[in-house]
């Protein structure tokens, strides 16, 4: 009996020592990044068992607010912070690109399979409500041989505020001056036409249920759910199929500024798929008030943008291009703790 008690006491001591050595890192924000982060946390726990992560996928906007209020140690966002938001923060915040994602333009046209060709003009026209029928000459002239019906187009979009919508409206704003002035870009916008579905599953629900519908969903989601999706014409005039590779290419045709706050939609790279974006981790430059946390976050971020990328690629995120990874590591070295 005595031995059992001493064993229990020993275990309790070990547990308390382990607990004392563990650094708990709290993060919040982007839901888009959440599956990648979860996978990374799981793998990273065996690489550095002394760090424990906790991430709340509450949305990019809320993530920015929480990191500004310093209620969390890092944030996650799909759209970069605005200048106003940067100045409102109590310290300098770095945007660290962690994953890249693309959006597929998925559709449900009876009798039409994958690979309908869409030009930027057509995409903007459909979402502005100007092209209303599938056999509109602007669509048929790019798709000879495809039997497009005369049925009307049902537009589906996200009803919840989301980074997915930000990237898509960012794309539309960059290819259509009319979209830019009439609607603009944001996590939620005033849609000229269409039905709103909540989440990727809401949009794909409308797509599956409504013949003649078109909408945008995350590429990984479109693939998993066997949605049919379009090849989209990029800035160089090539029709590009959305894929992990063509998404990574999107970062190669764009001059990446030092703060990484850049949009990579409508990339000039001839190989790039035009509707792609970064998700960023938001980290304070100065973390000298809690050196243990600073060390843990920087260590994790360095691992995630290098070795970690192969785990996120399993989840259909596009890997960051290698020259960008070098730049990110230099940036992470500038964080003080």
């Amino acid at each position: 009996m005595k031995r059992i008690w001493s064993l229990v006491a020993a275990m309790a001591m070990v547990a308390s020592v382990a607990f004392a050595d563990t650094t708990l890192i709290n993060g919040a924000g982007s839901t888009f990044m959440y599956p990648a982060l979860t996978k990374w946390f799981e793998v990273y726990s065996s690489i550095d068992p002394s760090v424990q992560f906790n991430y709340q996928a509450i949305g990019s906007g809320a993530g920015i607010q929480q990191v500004t209020a310093k209620t969390v140690d890092f944030g996650g966002t799909d759209g970069p912070m605005t200048m106003d938001q940067m100045t409102a923060a109590p310290g300098r915040i770095y945007h660290i690109p962690m994953v890249m994602g693309a959006e597929a333009i998925a559709y449900n046209i009876p009798g039409v399979s994958n690979g309908l060709k869409l030009t930027p003009d057509v995409v903007a026209g459909i979402f502005l409500g100007k092209i209303t029928q599938w056999n509109d000459p602007k669509i048929t002239e790019q798709n000879p041989g495809v039997n497009l019906p005369s049925s009307s187009i049902v537009v589906a979009h996200r009803s919840d505020g989301s980074g997915t919508t930000f990237i898509f409206t960012d794309y539309l704003s960059s290819v259509s001056p009319e979209w830019k002035s009439r609607v603009g870009k944001g996590t939620a916008v005033n849609w000229p036409v269409g039905l709103g579905g909540k989440g990727n599953q809401g949009v794909s629900g409308i797509l599956k249920q409504s013949p003649g519908s078109i909408g945008y969903v995350e590429l990984a989601y479109a693939k998993e759910n066997n949605l049919t999706y379009a090849v989209v014409q990029n800035q160089s005039g090539n029709f590009i199929e959305p894929s992990v590779e063509s998404t990574s290419e999107a970062a190669n045709g764009v001059a990446i500024p030092d703060d990484f706050r850049v949009s990579i939609v409508n990339s000039a790279n001839p190989q790039a798929y035009p509707i792609a974006g970064f998700s960023w981790m938001l980290i304070y430059k100065n973390m000298m008030d809690s050196p243990a946390k600073g060390k843990a976050i920087v260590g994790f971020a360095k691992w995630a943008v290098t070795d970690g990328q192969k785990y996120s690629a399993q989840l259909d995120y596009a890997p960051l291009p290698s020259d960008l990874v070098d730049k990110i590591q230099k940036k992470l070295d500038m964080i003080k703790y």
Binding site: G61, A62, S159, D160, T187, N190, Q209
Partner: protein
């Protein structure tokens, strides 16, 4: 004696804490809603209620389409649910053989416990295709002369959301109405039969008359549920900020826009406009409740504690 007085007093004071805490809670919610929506209140003023644009990019906000959507879906849902719910309650309480009544009552209570997200999924996969392929084409063909049944047929929309809401609130109406009808003293019914009343006469003159306050209470409860319902409605209403006479067209409700956009609202004005939507939702519920209570008063002739006159 004095010991009894003291314990009585303590008991009374302690009991009084509970209703007062409810008052404090409601006042606190109201204060917080008003305080947090001050930026939006001062920018848009009363116009917020009558303005029909919702543009987060240019920060131009108005609540009218959401108020409209909330009222229309709730009222259509009530129109559909009340006859079914009260009818079922009467049957269960008065006509059904006791074993049948017991089984159905258990099922009804089970229905009331299903989370609304489940109803929403069912809506997407079953109700919406059915609306698009069967119900709405039928309504459009035979009642298309009415403005309510015109326009493109998507399946999702105000009518689908209303039917969904009706299905969600029917169990509440059945459950409460059934209890109310069962509570009618048997002696009243027996007196009616003794006077030679038929079953229908006993039911309409005695049972429903005695129970109408309770049944209206059930309807108010159901209405409150319909106004505040979020998930199921959001999943099938189409979430489109516009006002249309057609029940086929997509719409939007107050609760849905909060659920949809709160997490990603990134500026102060945007957040505060969403919180003001919450304030409007609270006020709409209060006004509808007051109207319903006035209705009860008019039905019962100003005396709501005593159903029989």
């Amino acid at each position: 004696m004095s010991r009894n007085d003291t314990s009585d007093l303590i008991f009374r004071r302690v009991l009084a804490v509970f209703p007062i805490s409810i008052l404090i809670l409601v006042a606190g919610i109201l204060f917080q809603l008003v305080y947090s929506s001050l930026p939006s209140l001062s920018k848009f003023g009363v116009g917020f209620l009558f303005h029909n644009t919702w543009d987060p990019v240019n920060e131009n906000f108005g609540a009218l389409p959401f108020i409209f959507g909330t009222l229309v879906t709730s009222l259509v849902a009530l129109l559909l649910a009340v006859p079914v719910g009260v009818g079922a309650a009467i049957y269960l309480a008065e006509y059904a053989p006791p074993p049948v009544s017991r089984v159905i009552s258990i099922l009804v209570d089970l229905l009331a416990a299903i989370p609304s997200v489940i109803y929403g999924l069912w809506g997407i996969f079953v109700l919406v295709p059915c609306m698009r392929d069967t119900i709405q084409p039928f309504l459009g063909k035979y009642f298309g002369f009415l403005p309510f049944f015109q326009g493109p047929n998507y399946g999702v929309g105000v009518l689908a959301a209303s039917i969904m809401l009706a299905i969600i609130i029917i169990p509440f109406i059945i459950s409460v109405s059934r209890e109310v009808i069962l509570a009618v003293p048997t002696v009243y019914k027996e007196s009616a039969y003794a006077l030679g009343a038929t079953r229908w006469e006993a039911l309409s003159n005695i049972v429903l008359s005695y129970g109408k306050v309770g049944i209206l209470g059930a309807v108010i409860l159901a209405l409150g549920r319909a106004i505040g319902e979020v998930m199921a409605v959001t999943m099938i209403i189409g979430n489109n900020v516009k006002i249309s006479a057609s029940l086929f067209s997509p719409g939007y409700t107050l609760a849905s826009v909060i659920a949809n956009e709160f997490a990603e609202a990134d500026t102060n004005l945007y957040l505060s406009a969403l919180i003001e939507i919450g304030l409007v939702l609270l006020l709409v519920s209060i006004i509808v409740n007051i109207l319903a209570r006035l209705l009860i008063w008019s039905v019962t002739g100003g005396n709501s504690t005593e159903g029989m006159k």
